[in-house]
């Protein structure tokens, strides 16, 4: 579930759901709604995304920035998230052998279509997803976060 929030100079989303996978999926839907609101989209093409980050917040920023990159540079808009897997790679022995810290890994399968300015009304150009007060929390079996977009 996501909710659009409005700051004086910027916009953002509040997202909550019962698992990390659902949280990341809903955040993508919230990003999409911020950008094109209710413009219709179709599942023409699938894309796989694999991301690695030192923490969940960084993974979230990378994930939404990836979708933003597809839109602003490749002119490709998300339709929906088909698969989402979020894992903590913390096998202590293996990491010690590799001299690495634990990291979060996100595997995503999404679909979408080429941007069509006649069909998709871009309401807001997001410069970037920010780390401003970004925190992914678990409260009462629910994951929650608040993401601010720089526009």
């Amino acid at each position: 579930m996501f909710k659009i929030i409005s700051h004086t100079a910027d916009v953002g989303i509040e997202v909550s759901d019962d698992s990390l996978e659902h949280l990341f999926t809903e955040a993508a839907r919230g990003w999409k709604h911020t950008v094109i609101e209710d413009s219709p989209t179709e599942a023409i093409e699938e894309r796989k995304i694999q991301l690695i980050a030192p923490d969940l917040e960084d993974l979230m920023v990378q994930w939404l920035n990836e979708l933003n990159f597809y839109l602003t540079v490749q002119e490709w808009i998300l339709h929906d998230v088909i698969q989402c897997q979020i894992k903590l790679d913390d096998s202590a022995r293996r990491l010690k052998a590799l001299d690495r810290k634990p990291e979060w890994r996100g595997d995503f399968l999404i679909n979408g279509e080429p941007l069509d300015h006649e069909k998709h009304e871009i309401c807001i150009e997001i410069k970037s997803v920010t780390y401003h007060q970004l925190e992914i929390k678990k409260e009462n079996n629910e994951y929650k976060t608040r993401i601010i977009f720089d526009i």
Partner: protein, 487 residues
């Protein structure tokens, strides 16, 4: 002198327009905010912006004060309107002190035209400008798509690239901050993704609060300075406000991640992740400085191309000669940047890294980096307002060198969220309302017009006045918009 309180901290008025947040907690230096009492009360009400002034005061190597201009409002890491200088040896550089839109800035071009010569032709002038200058979300296509090597060249030489390719003349460079090129730019520090984002965006305005306006000189406060800048009453001028587009946003994004890791590597303790930073002398710090400078060069090339497109548009729509148009650049300033500059701190002159995030350089008369033609007057400062009221030209003063690392304000700042502005614009003929105010507006969509209506912004004159009265930058002229193109 008055004392106000913010979260149990006394904020002391030390001059009519200067307020000090005393050093406390982990602050290395005090905070100083430029504002009238009324403005200060409203800033305190905003809460987060003062907290951000305090946070910036904790950056390693910060010199003298964590400063904020009267247009302060909350940003990411630094507040918008924040200025901080850090020591080159012991200090850090932070993308949070520059912002996502690296070298977002303003340029002002003069013409020989008077308002009466264009009044009846504003519709076709604005329509033509809109056709010549790509605007809006993901706008592209001013030039053919540049290949990656060409973009690297833009990143290396900045506005020079535009001039070499027929966009403007070399004298424009003399009237551009840093002559439109930061020499420490390092295109090799810029990611492939950032370069991809820039390939199609040289000469594009973008969206949001970026604009190109036809304005008239409405009032002159300082005749000597106005005359030196080539300005006279009722004159038609062109103001352009934009930055480094997607390329700059990507550089900021890339380096927030790099510097976030560096922050823990160098054991720097920060109260906010958006303040991620690294020692200026470290590999990470110097890579960011090189990439950020390259993005700044991209922005100067962008504004230089846009200005030339605007000139061509005016020549065409008015069917006049170059001599009759008399088009030339008054000045180009950036207001989101970190630069190595010489300043006096603790009785000695030394090089420091000045972060200006939503703040404009304001060097005084006699400063060696002020262009020859303005050396006796001082550097022009350009402060854009909203699209219905006015923008200002000011000039830097000596007090800026003494008190604010040669910096002053940069603009109005929003007072209404975009959503609230959209709601307020529902059911209204906003284009007709703007026309009643004497402004012809052309935008890609009505949404931007609603979001950017004058009522959504604070009154920029209060901001300019505070800096004028504090002696940091003096008012030279007021400019009134008569034509606007927006994304």
């Amino acid at each position: 002198m008055v004392t106000l309180t913010y979260q149990n901290v006394n904020i002391n008025q030390i001059e009519e327009f200067v307020w000090e947040v005393p050093r406390h907690g982990n602050m290395s230096v005090p905070g100083r905010i430029y504002a009238s009492r009324k403005m200060m009360e409203s800033i305190i009400g905003e809460e987060e912006s003062i907290k951000q002034v305090i946070n910036v005061a904790m950056l390693p190597g910060i010199q003298k004060y964590s400063l904020a201009m009267p247009d302060i409002h909350w940003g990411y890491g630094f507040p918008i309107g924040g200025v901080a200088a850090t020591d080159l040896e012991e200090g850090v550089i932070s993308p949070g002190g520059v912002g996502y839109d690296i070298n977002c800035g303003v340029r002002l071009a003069r013409t020989n035209l008077k308002q009466k010569e264009v009044t009846n032709r504003m519709q076709e002038i604005v329509k033509s400008l809109f056709a010549h200058v790509p605007t809006g979300v993901g706008s592209s296509g001013a030039l053919k798509k540049l290949n990656k090597d060409e973009i690297r060249n833009v990143l290396k030489i900045g506005a020079n690239w535009a001039v070499k390719n027929g966009f403007g003349v070399s004298v424009d460079l003399d009237h551009t901050e840093e002559k439109g090129c930061l020499k420490n730019a390092n295109p090799d520090s810029v990611s492939n993704r950032a370069i991809e984002r820039g390939q199609n965006q040289v000469g594009t305005l973008g969206s949001g609060n970026h604009f190109l306006e036809v304005q008239v000189v409405d009032e002159i406060y300082d005749e000597k300075a106005a005359s030196a800048f080539g300005l006279f009453p009722t004159q038609v001028v062109i103001m352009i406000h934009c930055g480094s587009r997607g390329l700059g946003h990507q550089v900021c994004d890339d380096y927030l991640r790099v510097l976030s890791n560096a922050t823990s590597k160098y054991q720097i303790h920060l109260p906010d992740r958006q303040l991620a930073c690294a020692p200026i002398q470290s590999t990470e710090g110097s890579d960011y400085l090189g990439a950020m400078s390259a993005a700044a060069n991209f922005a100067w090339a962008n504004r230089q191309v846009i200005m030339e497109l605007a000139k061509r548009s005016l020549l065409k729509s008015l069917s006049i000669s170059e001599r009759e148009l008399g088009f030339s650049l008054v000045y180009d300033v950036c207001h989101n940047i970190a630069k190595i500059e010489e300043h006096r701190t603790n009785g000695t002159t030394k090089k420091v890294c000045v972060h200006r995030k939503g703040a404009t350089r304001a060097f005084p008369a006699g400063h060696p980096l002020t262009p020859d033609s303005y050396r006796h007057i001082g550097q022009p400062v350009l402060v854009p307002g909203d699209m219905g009221r006015y923008s200002f030209v000011a000039v830097g003063c000596q007090k800026a060198m003494e008190d604010t690392f040669g910096s002053t304000c940069h603009g109005a700042g929003r007072q209404q969220s975009r959503r609230k502005a959209l709601k307020a614009g529902k059911g209204r003929d906003l284009i007709a309302e703007m026309e009643k105010l004497g402004v012809v507006v052309h935008a890609r969509g009505m949404r931007t017009v609603a979001e950017e209506m004058p009522e959504a912004y604070k009154d920029v004159s209060m901001v300019v006045e505070a800096m004028h009265k504090s002696g940091i930058s003096k008012k030279v002229a007021k400019l009134r918009p008569i034509g606007v193109i927006k994304g």
